[in-house]
Symmetry: C2
Subunit: 251 residues, 2 copies
């Protein structure tokens, strides 16, 4: 499995509009530190799947015929925005598989164009795309949200964002099926109060300590977390990394 982080930012991204914090200033000087809409690509020799569709230039990055499906974690704007232009395209329909959510996002379900929303992912009902086994795992967020665990040849990558902690049944499933790589929402630096909708570093560490992946990559990063890390460069344990836009991994 080849995995690539396309975007690792939260809804405001890095740099954040109007913000002069160290992380936002650094990203304006060096594009390598920019963070765009949280999304990823997972590929095998047989299949190529886009994980969330919040990047704006999807049609340019992935011309028609180069994606087998789009998997959505949920229907917040920063995870679906790129579909609004693509939907008016020509040719074969593009499968977009996500959780049941009647509201969807704006008029996306009303005017799907070439997007095929017929298949919904159901919690704990595994399915195959090409040679990948995919298990949808409920997450804890302000909208119906699913993480996904991808499995091939006994290797597993779990992609768990957006979430604040993990539902007990998702944690139990992942303890039974431990991922080699864990891609995890960690929007915020350690907070004194439990955050809403997204993990802070306390919560991400707790999840990581429970699931014990070989490597954990933190994503959906808020600018405040980047700034905190500039002051605490040694804060993360050895098996925990901050993901970056464009970062590629293989197992």
């Amino acid at each position: 499995m080849n995995f690539r982080f396309l975007g690792t930012g939260n809804a405001g991204g890095v740099p954040l509009y109007g913000c002069e914090c160290p992380a936002c200033s650094r990203a304006r000087l060096n594009k390598e530190h920019e963070r765009h809409a949280c999304s990823a690509l997972i590929e095998t020799e047989c299949v190529r799947i886009l994980l969330d569709a919040g990047l704006p230039n999807l049609g340019e990055r992935f011309p028609a015929g180069t994606l087998d499906a789009v998997l959505l974690t949920h229907h917040h704007m920063d995870h679906v925005q790129g579909l609004f232009r693509v939907r008016w395209g020509r040719g074969n329909r593009l499968r977009v598989i996500g959780p049941e959510d009647l509201a969807g996002c704006d008029d996306l379900f009303k005017h799907p164009g070439i997007l095929d929303f017929d298949t919904k992912a159901q919690p704990f009902q595994g399915f195959d795309l090409g040679d990948l086994r995919i298990m949808p795992l409920p997450l804890t967020h302000s909208r119906p949200t699913l993480g996904y665990c991808f499995e091939q040849n006994g290797q597993r990558i779990a992609y768990l964002t957006d979430t604040c902690g993990l539902p007990a049944e998702t944690e139990a499933w992942l303890i039974e099926h431990p991922p080699n790589l864990l891609m995890l929402d960690c929007s915020y630096p350690p907070r004194s109060e439990t955050p809403r909708n997204h993990n802070d570093l306390h919560m991400a560490r707790r999840i990581c300590d429970t699931l014990k992946p070989q490597h954990c990559y933190l994503t959906h990063i808020d600018h405040s977390f980047d700034t905190w890390l500039i002051g605490e460069p040694e804060a993360l344990p050895d098996n925990m990394n901050i993901a970056h836009d464009g970062q590629a991994l293989s197992i």
Copy 2:
């Protein structure tokens, strides 16, 4: 007044995802023929206004403090999409003035962040921004939609998109206050049946013949219109031009 077309495409843009027509193929070979979300910038020495906000990278193009206001024609996704990331910014609020439309777009009104939607533009109730006099003009579209006529030192630029024909009272106002430059929705080549929601070239010519601007620039172009024009390069009268992304004009 300095006017710049930032985007001149309709919701699908050019090239359209998956489309191999002559216009879409040409745009893939040469970015100068691309058309992005219909929007523009109008500036004087005193004021800088963004006209519609459908481009995705607004924060990069217009860093905080470089725009005095955003004027929205309406709340369809391809005219507001760029606001979804900007809203989470820091610092001064950014005024976004548009027509009354309770639905807005997705959760933009529910979570405005730094966007200031307090001022609504009302049909035929002129207002000033800096040294520009601005008159909101009702248009005919599937959502509440306003065009705007900008006036400075007796010179006028009318920006009329999205629209299918013109309401009688808008036409009457523009006959009394003729624009020097008319920027006009013309999404489609001539059609045998009257189109819905957008002008075809028949309708755009009729409006242009009635209002008699010195120059008319067609915008909100569908790929099918570009392809038609490749085959009919002499089809437009002398005072009518096809706008291009990035095209700048001054009066």
